[in-house]
């Protein structure tokens, strides 16, 4: 049994890409600091969605990923969003969770972001860049309530703090291929590949990685 969650285990070795990034960090120039959020209207160059699966047999989608490649002035950004809410997100086992959200994922995302245990790194032609992580929009994680008269209602969450998305952004400097990774506790949990060109850009790959997938070549 090798379950994985976006914000899970800590003791798996970082991937080869991570190691390369770490090596470059010790020798390269300081990475440009990403702004907390966009300050001008961004042109969306590409957008891609993926589900974040557990890596158990028949693994469930426990979070939804969205990546947007955006251009603001001369700079290109990759902005990622990990949400406990998404059309294919599976709720925790049992009858109370409602399809399309996962309460436990929401709790984990909030705890990990609050604990500053996430980071986003990019490796491109210009070297290495470290991005920023923040809590994003509030999202509704509802649960069923079974009443004595047999009715089922979908309860508004009275959660405090409310369920939130995790948002990441990193600048992709210069034209060429860029490898982007989101790490949780040093473990790669999301991987993206982008091609940036003067006239545009594409997201070539977006995938959530299970606890052991990060070691794949």
């Amino acid at each position: 049994m090798t379950p994985s969650v976006l914000l899970g285990a800590t003791l798996v070795a970082a991937s080869v890409v991570s190691a390369a990034l770490a090596l470059q960090e010790s020798t390269g120039a300081p990475a440009p600091r990403a702004p907390a959020r966009a300050t001008e209207v961004a042109q969306v160059l590409d957008r891609r969605e993926a589900d974040f699966f557990e890596d158990e047999p028949g693994g469930r989608a426990v979070a939804a990923l969205e990546a947007r490649l955006e251009r603001e002035g001369p700079r290109t950004w990759l902005r990622l969003r990990a949400s406990p809410v998404g059309p294919r997100v599976t709720p925790p086992a049992g009858a109370l969770g409602i399809g399309g959200s996962n309460r436990l994922s929401a709790q984990e995302i909030a705890a990990i972001v609050a604990g500053k245990r996430m980071e986003i790194l990019a490796q491109g032609p210009a070297g290495r860049a470290r991005g920023s992580v923040r809590l994003g929009e509030r999202c509704e994680v509802r649960e069923r309530r079974l009443h004595a008269d047999g009715r089922v209602t979908h309860e508004e969450p009275a959660d405090d703090p409310p369920a939130r998305e995790a948002c990441f952004e990193v600048a992709l400097e210069g034209p060429g291929l860029h490898a982007v990774e989101v790490l949780v506790d040093g473990e790669v949990r999301v991987r993206a590949r982008c091609r940036v060109a003067p006239e545009g850009g594409r997201i070539l790959l977006l995938e959530g990685l299970g606890a052991h997938d990060g070691e794949r070549p």
Partner: protein, 450 residues
């Protein structure tokens, strides 16, 4: 001997908890508000505390659990924390137990390695990996605990090193025996509501003890017998609260262990409590077995059934499109504006889930759609008149998609009714019918009874 050991340990834990309480007493920071008065809490025994905890979190079990765990931490109440961890898969509770270095933290985390949900599993594993010497020592004392995921963890620990902290390990509680931990799953016929009591009476079993055992079972990966049989038996217990809890627990069980006939009996029993009927609907509302799903479809199309909203709620999670049309042509409207709004929201939720699905998903739905059509055909249910034409139309509309066509071809040759029922004779009939439907779609023929 083992029993004596457990009794001695229980005494030690209680004494330890009491000593810890005295040491910690006015320790609560000003910003933290206890959900109940500490003295009132300590005047209760373990069952009394659990009953109070349940009553207090009932309005919002999810959000209210967190301040309770913090309160239990301040109280140093290991026993309640362990129950919370096992009955709710709370990674916060396992974390607190480990932080407190309580005598039960290793056994609780090892138990939580059984968690079905990976969030709880991962958290428990983290706690155990963080203190490898103690955990290796504990497994050396209790090698019988190294099974399944615990065995994998031990291998991982042994690969990291070989140190064993036997001094600390000997102070820790032994592993849980599921038969002892879940003994309340075989309750006496007479159960008592705990009510306003503060302490349990000797020789009395309370409803919440059975509910707690069911919650622990629900969150674990315990499969097969005796658990499946015990769960099925509880659906016929004299206590409606137990029947309800058993049905909700069944919702998370493997479909082959689902006590379908007993759950169907609850759904259709007019003299059953409405919430028990709805709990049974929630348990049956999955694609497999198809006989169960078909009955829930019927409830979802009958606004007069007390479990209508339960069926609507669940099927909006799993339906592949049939209900979008069927709900638009209901013979009767749901009762009251709330019912109408609930159905509208469910339709919107279902539509949002289905929009833009990739070809892979449509291909993956082929088997389930064929199985349900075959089940409807064989059952002679009234819903067959609409479900079968809809299924054939939906499949025919997508048969030019390469993956869907591939799935249809595979189904025409190897659709297996045994994937949708545990009854061998019924499985054979489903196989024949399902394959015939697939062949008809591939040939482009109009639907016909099989």
């Amino acid at each position: 001997m083992r029993r004596l050991h457990c009794l001695a340990l229980g005494f030690a834990l209680t004494l330890g908890g009491a000593l810890s309480l005295r040491a910690d007493e006015p320790a609560a920071p000003p910003a933290l508000v206890d959900p109940v008065d500490g003295a009132r809490w300590r005047a209760r025994d373990a069952e009394g505390r659990w009953a109070l905890y349940l009553a207090k979190i009932a309005p919002q079990p999810g959000p209210l659990t967190t301040p309770w765990i913090e309160f239990l931490e301040r109280q140093g109440d290991w026993q309640q924390l362990e129950w919370v961890a096992m009955a709710t898969n709370s990674s916060q509770a396992t974390g607190v137990l480990a932080k407190l270095k309580s005598p039960v933290w290793v056994r609780c985390c090892v138990w939580c390695l059984r968690a079905k949900d990976s969030h709880a599993f991962t958290s428990a594993k983290q706690q155990l990996l963080a203190r490898p010497d103690i955990v290796r020592g504990w497994f050396a004392l209790h090698p019988e605990a190294a099974t399944g995921a615990a065995q994998e963890l031990l291998h991982e620990l042994n690969a990291l090193g070989s140190g064993r902290d036997m001094r600390v390990a000997k102070l820790l509680a032994p592993p849980h025996d599921p038969q002892v931990l879940l003994a309340a799953l075989v309750p006496p016929p007479k159960l008592v509501e705990f009510g306003a009591r503060t302490r349990a009476e000797p020789g009395v079993t309370y409803v919440h003890q059975v509910e707690r055992a069911l919650a622990i079972l629900e969150h674990s990966d315990l499969r097969g017998e005796p658990w499946a049989g015990r769960l099925a038996a509880l659906l016929q217990h004299g206590s409606p609260a137990v029947r309800r809890a058993a049905a909700l627990t069944a919702a998370g069980r493997p479909w082959r262990e689902l006590p379908v006939s007993r759950l169907l009996a609850r759904v259709d029993a007019a003299d059953e409590r409405p919430d028990v009927r709805s709990a049974a609907v929630l348990a049956l509302s999955r694609h497999q077995p198809t006989s169960a799903y078909l009955r829930v479809l019927g409830v979802a199309l009958d606004p007069t059934h007390p479990s209508f909203t339960a069926a609507v709620s669940r099927l909006a999670d799993s339906d592949s499109g049939f209900l979008l049309e069927a709900w638009a042509t209901l013979d009767a409207a749901p009762a009251g504006p709330e019912g109408v709004a609930f159905l509208r929201t469910a339709r919107e939720r279902l539509a949002a889930r289905l929009v833009g699905r990739p070809e892979e998903d449509h291909a993956a739905w082929v088997q389930a759609r064929l199985a349900l059509a075959a089940e409807a055909c064989l059952s002679g249910a009234a819903i067959a008149a609409t479900l079968i034409p809809w299924t054939m139309h939906a499949l025919a509309a997508q048969r030019t998609l390469p993956l869907v066509r591939q799935a249809l071809k595979a189904a025409a040759e190897s659709f297996a009714g045994g994937d949708w029922t545990t009854d061998a004779a019924h499985a054979a009939a489903l196989t024949e019918s399902g394959r015939a439907f697939a062949r008809d779609v591939l040939r482009g023929e109009a639907p016909a009874a099989k």
